[in-house]
Amino acid sequence: MEALPDKEEQYVREQLMQYEFPFDEAAWEAMEVLLVEARQRARKRRVAILRYAGLVLFVISGAAAALLVLWAIFFKPRKNALPKSGEIAVVYPLRQQVGDLPSSRSENHLREAGLLASGKPSAREVCCSTEQNLTVSATNQAPGFQGNLAAVSSKVAADFAPEPAKEEENQAPLEGVALSLPLPMRVAPSLLWLNRDELIHQVRPCSWDFSPRLEHALTLGLGASIWQWNPLAVSPAPLVGYLIRYRFSTHTSLQAEFQVKSSSGYPLYVREEGLSFGGGSRQQGKEIHSLLFFEAPVCIHHRYRTNQAVFLGIRPSYNILIPAQMLQSSAVSQNEHLLREKINSLDVGIGLGWEWRMHPHWAFDARLTHGLLNLVSEDFFHGVDRLYNVDLQLSVRYFLTPDKRTLISRL
């Protein structure tokens, strides 16, 4: 320990450091009481921990057993089960043009009507490119095709389609065109006589192989940092970040982000005080400061539509104050010093947002997050203002892994 320049203070230090108080028996008796209480508390804690552990194990094992029973009853896959209506059961291999469906029931109907003698109905091409782009398109009618297709289609639709009214709305040239698909794709009969829009509406890939399990994205955004509600005061808060998302069920993912956000406009108290021994001067006011937030939101992401999702989660952050007027502190002489409100370096908030996946690689999201802790940590000044890290944020994300499922909504 360094010696103090002031001899008087050095004397105080030595005197106080060397002084020893006489032992007090009453103090030890009070200590004994504390020790006994501590032992009892520790024993109670051990018992409580054992009880809670037992309870948790019981609940977990009960829930696991219940899930197992439910799975066995409702979700256990059955052999030779047909896909539900309107679902394509198998994803295509690499680029493959679909041929005609051999001996389908729809063709039999067409044959009975004598329409296949001179030609075949036009076929739709259902293909997947090497990037697994699923596209559905209609080709022109085959040459030589003749006959009153609309009449035949009405007849066949009466046999298959549960909603005959829809068939009447079909319009040329796609109206009543038979959909010919090769194996291994299986199509429910009701799909065969739908027009393009209805087909797209009803065709849903049952496999989520179109969406990657793990996604990485880069984020660029602009937030409006709200540091005062009444009257509303906002300042811009640009941000950059990185996102990682893991899809653990069909619609739901866990996403974690790391983003750096800079926001100006936080008013903090500052006070300059002269320490000159003849009577000091002081000035007090507010300075506008910038804050740098290192945020790591962790959210549950739920995709309620093919290209739209909502997310909700918590946002821990590490905050750094960037003093607005660094020059001011350097201008303070030795006989003065600057008091500045200190901020909490750690904060946690909650956030709610909406995401629109507009492209396999690109997404847009909007979110509102609200910090839960007061950013001002020091109660030195009389200020009663409470500052929170609140912002409305719009950002664009670039996903490194494309999400082909987004394309389906664009067909």
């Binding site: 008087e8 106080l16 108080f21 030890w28 020790l35 030195f380």
Partner: protein
């Protein structure tokens, strides 16, 4: 190692006994270091009762975490650090920095500690205990325990400038007290 403890047992032996939660080892360790550690608690509190409460809380931590003493540094230094941190926690739980500020007090700012060296330890304890809690804490940490303003700021979660202000305030208040002590009674 013998499990018989007496007041003259070595620190290491008493420490081993405390690890086994032996009541006699705990008592002898408490008795041995009571005087010096109470001095630390007294500096950070405003009276003896409060200091004893802080000291016992600190000893409770010492006894329950004695296995964490790695042997690096002196045992008394390790215990002193626990007492110091317990005292600071106690001060932090009670002090509102706002309460101790007097923005309008413009007393004579000329500070001189002349006269302190004429006081005995008991008087020094008394005069320091009369300081406001936050100011007393900063004074103790800076002058007695030798911490720097940056370290004090971190420990008390205040700005470095605030720490300097409290030190200045402590010196000014001590000067006022000393003047009261030495002024001839009329």
């Amino acid at each position: 190692m013998s499990k018989i403890y007496h007041p003259g047992s070595t620190d290491e032996k008493l420490r081993q006994g405390c690890l086994r939660q032996h009541p006699l080892a705990q008592k002898y360790l408490y008795e041995r270091y009571f005087g010096r550690l109470l001095g630390i608690a007294m500096r950070y509190t405003s009276d003896r009762e409060e200091a004893l409460s802080v000291l016992n809380q600190a000893f409770l931590k010492i006894f329950s975490n004695i296995n964490q003493y790695s042997g690096a540094g002196s045992f008394i230094g390790w215990m002193a650090k626990i007492v110091l941190h317990t005292a600071i926690d106690h001060v932090r739980s009670q002090v509102t920095y706002r309460r101790v500020m007097d923005f309008h007090a413009e007393a004579d700012n000329r500070v001189s500690n002349e006269g302190l060296s004429q006081l005995q330890a008991e008087d020094l304890f008394r005069i320091i205990q009369q300081l406001p809690p936050a100011t007393r804490t900063v004074f103790n940490l800076y002058v007695i325990d030798g911490y720097k303003h940056s370290e004090i700021a971190e420990m008390l979660n205040i700005d470095e400038g605030t720490s300097k202000w409290h030190l200045f305030q402590a010196r000014r208040l001590l000067q006022q007290r000393l003047r009261c002590l030495y002024e001839p009674a009329f």
